[in-house]
């Protein structure tokens, strides 16, 4: 899976702030852009479509509130996190910032580490859960657990639940041999007791339905996905 780095734009009129925060963001693995005022922030945002924008509220040209409002009126930045940063420590600004669509509001002075930590927490929350089912793609075979769907060469093959789960288990680690015991505990669960031939029968059904040799028998050991 393609793992482009997460892009963050930081807009502040104090070069020192930009420098120190950029440093910490880079160290945390983000890709960083910067802007020195509100207008530049909008320009850079349009160019790079960052995943997160850190906005100082008091900036020349256009202040943070204005930039935030502009971004939120644009569908392009729907999913862009906005972190507002300010030396003002008043309740009104705080609430205003959040109501304009800010995702976080942080008072200066702020430890760069804490800021990075907060941003990471936001990303963690909005990212689709890591436990989400992942699509397996091998040559012309697609196995999609979120749809319980197996597509071979453009044709959808409908597998029953157990068949699908068995295939998915094996295909998740192509080449690896799964012992019969492993297969039983993963697909059937630990407390279920089924007979010796059950796995074989299911393997057969998969072979028949897909019509390809994708599950290899390893005699005396188990089965592996090999395609």
């Amino acid at each position: 899976m393609e793992t482009n780095p997460i892009k963050i734009l930081i807009a502040d009129d104090e070069p020192d702030i930009i420098e120190i925060i950029s440093y910490h963001l880079l160290k945390a693995g983000f890709e960083v852009f910067s802007a020195k005022d509100g207008s530049e922030a909008i320009e850079k945002a349009q160019i790079h479509t960052p995943d997160c924008i850190i906005l100082d509220i008091m900036m020349p040209k256009r202040n943070g509130f204005e930039v935030c409002e502009y971004l939120r009126s644009n569908k392009q930045f729907d999913k862009t996190l906005i972190v507002l940063l300010t030396a003002l420590n008043d309740e009104e600004s705080h609430i205003k910032g959040l109501e304009l669509g800010g995702d976080d509001f942080v008072n200066k002075p702020i430890s760069p580490k804490v800021l990075v930590s907060r941003i990471s927490a936001l990303f963690r929350r909005i990212q689709p859960s890591a436990t989400d089912n992942k699509v397996i793609q091998v040559r012309d075979l697609t196995i999609d657990p979120s749809q319980y769907k197996t597509i071979l060469n453009g044709v959808t093959h409908v597998l029953a639940k157990k068949e699908f789960e068995l295939l998915f288990l094996l295909a998740a680690q192509p080449g690896r041999v799964f012992l019969r015991n492993e297969i039983l505990s993963q697909v059937w669960g630990n407390d279920v007791i089924v007979g010796d031939r059950t796995i074989d029968v299911h393997v057969r059904k998969i072979r028949v339905k897909l019509g390809i040799e994708c599950i290899t028998t390893v005699k005396g050991v188990g089965y592996k996905f090999d395609y």
Copy 2:
């Protein structure tokens, strides 16, 4: 869709804090539960499965960090927002709280209005699809949630509320299989207990009313929209 109020659990050993924050949360339309220590927080969390938990860090029995860690080790609370609240104002706690899985970390004293505002911002961010009422258009089928209206091939079909909500849920992510549990919690809500056949009956009504094969059964798993 499901319009049950958002549930928030607040855990703090100072009754005054609970009272004032509860007041503001209730005023903002949330349903509020409270706990006076860490153990009670966990109990109440298990009973009510709140959408957000506000945890004071310094509490008797189990402190906020411990509760946070416990919640995060439980899949049941995957999607539960955790806001950590503390009078300690040190960088280490702040980072620790976020790394343990907290979604926000707020220093006391905090204006209740600001706190509510922050929580609302978090919900706004994580529930983008829950609030957006987008029209779904697939071939000659239009599903318009703003009007609770389904148009197939120019003809308007009137679906009842639950029928419509079920169809909309599935159609919002075509192809994706929704487990029966997911459907129940999305359309009927977490607290409602309905019988096994209820979903089937509603699916049938949709099928009959629309007269097309748009909902596919995935036996042993759930249903998906496929048209």
